[in-house]
């Protein structure tokens, strides 16, 4: 076996290249900056474009323009940058613009602690857009996940024509680790779906029986139309409630109907388990250790590590909770994803432990929480 020595941000940059990314724009912000620095090394020699915007709004705007021109684009920031991205994220959702957005989370609120980790943006990523329509949020546990999930994120952005978030964390982003990169199974790269010749040419009109419109690149030989306004299939602003509703429901349905295609997770089941421990992100690493210790102590416990957070993989979560007498949710915030678990746990008590002090949650505190 040969190992590589990567941090999470390098994993993301390399994953992006493997997925066919040819455009990156960003604005320096700790702890996401090294993704931009990596892309600046990787893209120019291969004919790709890497730009530093005058601010975060510009950086994501460049990506939206490039994506509409038909290339695969990515941007990366941290919580304060996601705040500035917000209006453009809403645009990417409404305008169905494929884009990968990395949030290397740091401790908030506000500018918070630049060099401390947290998972405090989880609900922000889901709801930080006007209109509240769904987005895809993937959560890596380690550098290897950063590589693989970034590849998946590009594929999903292309397939579903939507922004896809990587919810990383300073603790994954800047921790270097040995990774068996050759031993991982990368997904096949998905290319953007061009419109067939007999398509109406309406830029937001899916083919019969489908939910996602094929893509007309700006600058292509057929005219393309993009708008941040509420629009019908032709891409013009509309006030017709029927057209509006059809369009909005389609934006919701296209992601909700696809959840099973992008439910990434690790489920470590113990027979005759009573407790289900639910975690995501870097906390999963401590949870794995804690579960080994708990089982040695005689505790009957299973572990669900979620790597797809939104849209909520409800089927998976319901199935994992079934027949348990207790669910324990641990997060590096003061209670965000636990809200999703609570609404799915009907009747099964859910206990929560959260921590926001810039430190990792340790296996010992998880053991203590579960056995309390």
């Amino acid at each position: 076996m040969t190992l590589t020595f990567l941090d999470g941000n390098e994993g993301i940059a390399r994953g992006a290249m493997a997925a066919g990314c040819s455009f990156f724009a960003g604005y320096p912000i700790t702890p996401a900056t090294s993704i931009y620095q990596q892309m600046l090394q990787l893209l120019p020699p291969t004919g790709g474009v890497c730009m530093q915007g005058e601010d975060e709004i510009a950086s994501i705007g460049f990506c939206l323009g490039a994506s509409m021109a038909g290339v695969k684009a990515m941007t990366a920031t941290s919580g304060p940058g996601i705040s500035l991205y917000s209006e453009q994220i809403s645009f990417a959702i409404g305008g169905e613009i494929p884009l990968v957005i990395v949030d290397v989370q740091r401790l908030g609120p506000s500018t918070g602690s630049a060099t401390k980790g947290a998972d405090g943006d989880i609900q922000f990523l889901r709801w930080g857009n006007s209109g509240g329509l769904p987005v895809i949020v993937l959560a890596p546990v380690d550098a290897k996940d950063c590589y693989l999930l970034t590849m998946h994120a590009f594929n999903l952005a292309e397939q579903y024509r939507c922004p896809v978030f990587i919810a990383s964390n300073k603790e994954i982003a800047t921790t270097r680790e040995s990774v068996d990169l050759d031993g991982c199974l990368p997904p096949e790269v998905v290319r953007r779906n061009p419109a067939p010749k007999d398509h109406s040419g309406h830029p937001f009109e899916p083919l019969e029986g489908e939910l996602i419109p094929p893509f007309f690149p700006m600058g292509g030989h057929r005219l393309s139309r993009q708008t941040s306004s509420t629009h019908g299939p032709e891409g013009y602003i509309t006030t017709d409630p029927a057209i509006i509703e059809t369009g909005i429901l389609r934006l919701k349905e296209k992601l909700h109907s696809g959840v099973d295609d992008f439910t990434f997770f690790d489920l470590d089941v113990q027979t005759e388990d009573k407790i289900l421990l639910v975690v995501y992100g870097v906390t999963a690493r401590a949870a794995r250790t804690a579960v080994v210790d708990l089982r040695e102590m005689g505790c009957k416990i299973s572990l669900l590590i979620l790597k797809s957070l939104y849209p909520v993989p409800e089927k998976l979560i319901r199935g994992a909770i079934k027949d348990k007498s207790q669910v324990v949710v641990i997060e590096m915030n003061h209670g965000q994803y636990v809200r999703e678990i609570e609404r799915l746990a009907v009747g099964v008590p859910v206990r929560f432990f959260g921590q926001m002090n810039g430190e990792l949650i340790s296996p010992e505190s998880i053991v203590k929480e579960v056995t309390a």
């Binding site: 590589t4 460049f62 323009g65 700006m218």
Partner: protein
Amino acid sequence: MTSLLNTGRPPVFCPGCSHEKVVHGLDRALLALNLTGENVAIVSDIGCSGLFDTFFNTHAFHGLHGRALTYATGLKMARPELTVIVIMGDGGLGIGGAHVLSSCRRNLDITLLVLNNFNYGMTGGQCSATTPMEAKTSSNFLNQLEKPLDICRVAGAAGAPYVGRVMASGKDMSGEIVAAVSYAGFSLMDIWGICPGRYLKRNRITLAELEKEMDRITLSQGVIASNEREGYATHYRRLAAEKVPVSEIQRIAATIDAPFTDGRCEVLMLGAAGQYINTAGEILCLAAMSGGLHATQKNDYPITVLRGHSVCEVVLDQKPVGYTGISKPSVILCLAPEGIVKRKNIFSLLGPETLVIKGAELMLPETEAEVIDIDFAELKIKPSQRVLAALAVLAGVGHFLNKEMLLAGIDHRYSGKMLENAKKIVEKI
């Protein structure tokens, strides 16, 4: 050639609105330039000027207020052959000011048409960045407090190589647009017009008066020679082509048998800026990987990097490392007081199973750990070399690291003279 106007969507501006004149002027300009719809992208933002893209049979990109230039930038970089025309009002100019300045500095081959009618028409006639101080607006007295922006002077100062100003009613407005679009570089046209629905209701102003004011304030027209330079896109591609492709990610093969280790092993390295603590952490990880172990490394140092503590946390394990924090270090290397102070609380928690390797001159908080002193001064080892020497001592102890692994780690990290020097330090111990 035929008109590029979208006959299914005729302009819907208020009667007498200058914007409509610009719609036709732009169409005539595109015709004169012999452009077909597929070759052109019209990028617009919010407000009455934001309706523009719908009136043309071209590629059309309508986005958020003030952000049109951001989309145009990405579009033009990805499709250099496309003629990209950005339409923006004086509202978009104000809210998107940073993008206007940066576009002037960047010099991509984009044309920005500012449809300047001195107020926010669509939202009810509030003042904008270009409203005269003496004008009457629905912002009550607020516009009396702020000086209007002369975008042509600003653009010139920001590096735009082509800046022009023209009346929407001007005879050669279309010709001016042709000249701006033809210019190979960033061009900006400040097109003055009248908003009959809002501005004219409160301000008795005639086109002749506006034109007189324009003549009074306009200093130059067209190319600004001192700002002329290679366009951003060609310049980018020229410089990018000189860059060497990044090599494949380094692979570390497990070629050495690591000494027996009982599971997880945590190493804490406490030093100061300039002591290569992070590099030594990396060498330790590469050494461990050469011995078939898994490794994680976390660094901690102040944001101002040239002073203060430098702390490195390494976790080694026979299986992939789970938790990356350090709770019970097996080994602590102490190289400077700054690092020791940073983690002073850990020492009282340690038992004799922890090994501390430290410079003989350093004071430690009370601890029950086993301590090995190294007299760096006696050995003539400089502060910047001490961490490597401490690793060599650790390899000599042989718990989980041996000399062969350490040399392999050094070999993976360094080359040339650096490699020779590092090896010499190890041999000294």
